[in-house]
Symmetry: C2
Subunit: 312 residues, 2 copies
């Protein structure tokens, strides 16, 4: 299959083609820019929802419920499950993925676990590209689920139109969430496992923290029990409310433009890294020798490389 045929098939929503394109994104081959360019004109109509939270918070079950909710309302849904912890926890989290197989036979749903071995920009560049593949394939709702274990993962979750942070009662206080900078990225807080003790306290503390934070958008706090579906309807409504708010005041366009700016900057940085490799490999080696010998420090060496790249 050549690229044009592959892209055409993906635009028709063919699963095999979509899967192959996402693999292409993961591997980050040299053909990727051309393919992404061809797809790009077919994107922009989808809405992306980020779901993040600590391991075990119930994100997968919640995602599964949201998929069902969206399907019931006639949406085509794509899911990207990003597991940055895979080198160490691979097996365990894979189990969650398997649970999502309840949607496996539904042609309106495409679920994919993402990893990145080859993509130079890492997950922060690969994720929006994979989301675009899903969008181009007709998925008008794209859910990006990440295990929130680090700043980078939080950033991936933040690269969505609506970001949901999933907490549990007794997870460690709303104070913890505030410290972790989650107040800044959450558009909606979900307190999942709301049948457990401490739910009311968690919601109240969270509300107090949010009131003190004086944010322009006051994130809704939605208690859910993902395992039995309680609260999913309310969560869907909250997502809709946040979407309307952003569409109404121009914030959505602004948010997306900011995201695009970040992406372009990331691509520039990666391009330069590649260029160093391909056009200045010899110089890099030579400079590294000098740095190793302590005749030069890494910052000066970098400056010299940039000068050389610009000169020629």
């Amino acid at each position: 299959l050549d690229h044009d045929a592959l892209i055409e098939a993906a635009l028709q929503g063919e699963r095999g083609a979509v899967a192959r394109l996402i693999s292409m994104v993961e591997n980050g081959g040299s053909e990727l820019p051309v393919v992404m360019e061809a797809l790009y004109a077919h994107t922009g109509a989808g809405y992306s929802i980020g779901i993040t939270g600590a391991p075990g918070a119930g994100k997968s079950t919640l995602t599964e419920r949201l998929v069902a909710e969206a399907r019931g309302r006639g949406h085509q849904v794509g899911v990207l499950a990003i597991d940055p912890t895979s080198p160490f926890s691979g097996g365990a989290l894979l189990g969650d993925r398997v649970r999502m197989q309840s949607h496996a036979t539904d042609a309106g749903v495409f679920i994919r676990s993402m990893a990145t071995r080859g993509h130079l920009g890492g997950l922060s560049l690969a994720t929006p590209e994979a989301a675009r593949v899903l969008e181009a394939a007709g998925k008008d709702i794209v859910i990006i689920e990440t295990v929130g274990v680090g700043q980078a993962e939080v950033e991936i979750a933040d690269a969505c139109d609506t970001t949901i942070v999933v907490l549990n009662p007794g997870w460690g206080d709303a104070v913890q969430a505030a410290k972790a900078g989650l107040m800044e990225i959450a558009d909606i807080f979900v307190v999942n496992k709301a049948d457990r003790q401490g739910t009311r306290d968690a919601v109240r503390e969270l509300r107090q923290m949010l009131e003190m934070a004086e944010l322009p958008w006051k994130p809704e706090i939605v208690p859910t029990i993902a395992t039995d579906g309680s609260g999913i309807d309310e969560l869907w409504t909250a997502i809709g409310a946040h979407r309307e708010y952003q569409e109404g005041n121009g914030l959505l366009a602004k948010r997306r433009r900011r995201r695009i700016e970040r992406e372009i900057r990331d691509i520039v940085a990666e391009r330069m890294r590649q260029r160093v490799e391909s056009h200045a490999g010899g110089l890099l080696e030579q400079l590294s020798e000098e740095v190793a010998a302590r005749r030069l420090d890494p910052y000066r060496a970098a400056d010299r490389l940039i000068e050389a790249l610009e000169a020629g």
Copy 2:
């Protein structure tokens, strides 16, 4: 305190100065390149040991024991504890840090938990710089402990002279470790909590996997019980053996040069990112508008930016 005085004090091993310089690295201010350049000439004599593994594997206790072992042998020791999971687990892992306070009154030990909010290159650039601060301050052994939860963290652990991967019996098979690419980064495997059932099986499986892998250096497998100190002596010997092996055949110099190459490439990429910000902010904004309008795709926009930067 001006920079020269601060650097001078750090070179004398003054704790306050060392702490301030590492904070400077974390914050990534504009003065950082100048300060790092001044320090750079005073580095290179230390040996760095990376310790990585899943949360709960016992890395902190192991690190604490290694610190004591190294101190007993007359080394000055620096420890960087990198916790990329902090936005979500902050409190819990901080508890581990507190345990290390047994060395708090020892002037020959400097322990620091690292985070990065400001450093543009993230932890992968900030970590080697912080390690250099410790080296310049006279720490001839620098231990870099990271919670191994993702590829990035594994890379940080790999940025050391000897990398130790900590597993537990029944952690999930040696097979898991192989899949996760740990065979490639581990110079030594520690099977910690070796008083638990399954230790012998874990060691045997690991050994079989290693034999199949046909690596140039066969990582030693050291069972330890960090809580009571069993196996620490053997671990120290294994580290020494790996060090000698690498020093004897020139691999250490090669490994360090490769690391320097990576660092220079990373700095180039970050510099370009900053340059986009400072010299082409207006163009970036304009290009982002066009990308948002789907008249241009992100890759093309990045190309145009690079052209503009090079032209001007």
